[in-house]
């Protein structure tokens, strides 16, 4: 009952969004970066995945778009917003589909999301810049996949302390 309260749900959404933005910022000030354009570790993806698993798909899509927009503004990467949006939308939609088909655990979903994020960015770049960017697909895809595994790990650990941020009490949310 308490879980379904809209106020609580909004507050929780906002809290998670703030967490994702902080993670984006932390990632931006890290002294090292993935040496492939468009590919990031994607700490914020941890939170996105968490929202996807503990809230609804529409929430996750909204979350992804808001996070892309806000981190673009906050981190002063205005030029990157379109790329980031394309990547996020493709990633969230793909992850939602994969999660629906119930064959894959959060690992598969996380990695697929990361790869799709890279593919989405390439789509944007091929539209805005040149179609030749597709030659970078192997590099972008494989390094994204690796990042997908890395960001899945904290989520796995988080799963053990489910009580800290208890999920919204849906029926199928956290059973499997």
């Amino acid at each position: 009952m308490w879980d379904k309260s809209p106020t609580r749900r909004i507050a929780r959404f906002a809290l998670l969004l703030a967490a994702a933005l902080i993670l984006s910022w932390v990632e931006a000030i890290l002294p090292f970066q993935i040496p492939v354009p468009g590919v990031k570790l994607g700490f914020a993806n941890i939170v996105l995945l968490y929202v996807l698993y503990t809230d609804s798909v529409p929430s996750a899509v909204t979350f992804g778009i808001l996070r892309a927009l806000l981190s673009g503004f906050f981190l002063g990467r205005l030029s990157g917003i379109f790329f980031s949006l394309c990547g996020t939308v493709l990633a969230v939609c793909g992850m939602a589909l994969l999660k629906k088909c119930r064959c894959f655990s959060s690992l598969g979903v996380s990695v697929a999301g990361a790869v799709l994020h890279g593919v989405g960015q390439l789509c944007a770049a091929s539209l805005l810049l040149t179609p030749a960017v597709w030659s970078m697909l192997p590099l972008v895809g494989i390094s994204s996949a690796a990042c997908g595994v890395v960001t899945w790990l904290p989520l796995r650990i988080l799963g053990r302390y489910e009580g800290i941020l208890e999920p919204l009490g849906g029926k199928n949310m956290n059973k499997d």
Binding site: P35, S79, C103, S105, G108, L129, A132, V133, E162, N174
Partner: protein
């Protein structure tokens, strides 16, 4: 969320990686020229056969040396484009997302018209 990792996860990952890696199997020829574009508009075409460099309008240089192309002194915040090193094969690309600069290697053409 603490579901068990299944074989399908690994198959999915393998399939994704394999799909991306397939692009590496396409045979690549040595390139003939480098096309420099800003915001999708071509600003320069540099032949790989001769040493040369092109000053980007927003700062930074595209340098051709020994038939290889690299981006130097980029003015973007992440400098990833510089880290991409030198490219020389057909289809290879240097990309700078913040500056919207792309450098693409084109191959030799089979014939000229006219």
């Amino acid at each position: 969320m603490n579901q068990k990792v299944r074989i399908w996860d690994f198959l999915l990952i393998a399939a994704l990686v394999a799909a991306c890696a397939c692009a590496w199997l396409i045979p690549r020829e040595t390139g003939a020229s480098a096309t420099v574009s800003v915001d999708g508009e071509i600003v320069a075409v540099l032949p790989l056969s001769q040493e040369g460099e092109f000053l980007l309008p927003m700062g930074g240089r595209v340098v051709v040396r020994d038939g290889k192309v690299s981006l130097c002194d980029a003015v973007c915040e992440d400098k990833l484009c510089e880290n991409m090193g030198e490219i020389s094969e057909e289809g290879q690309t240097i990309l700078c997302l913040p500056l919207r600069v792309s450098v693409v290697i084109s191959g030799e053409v089979d014939a000229y018209v006219g």
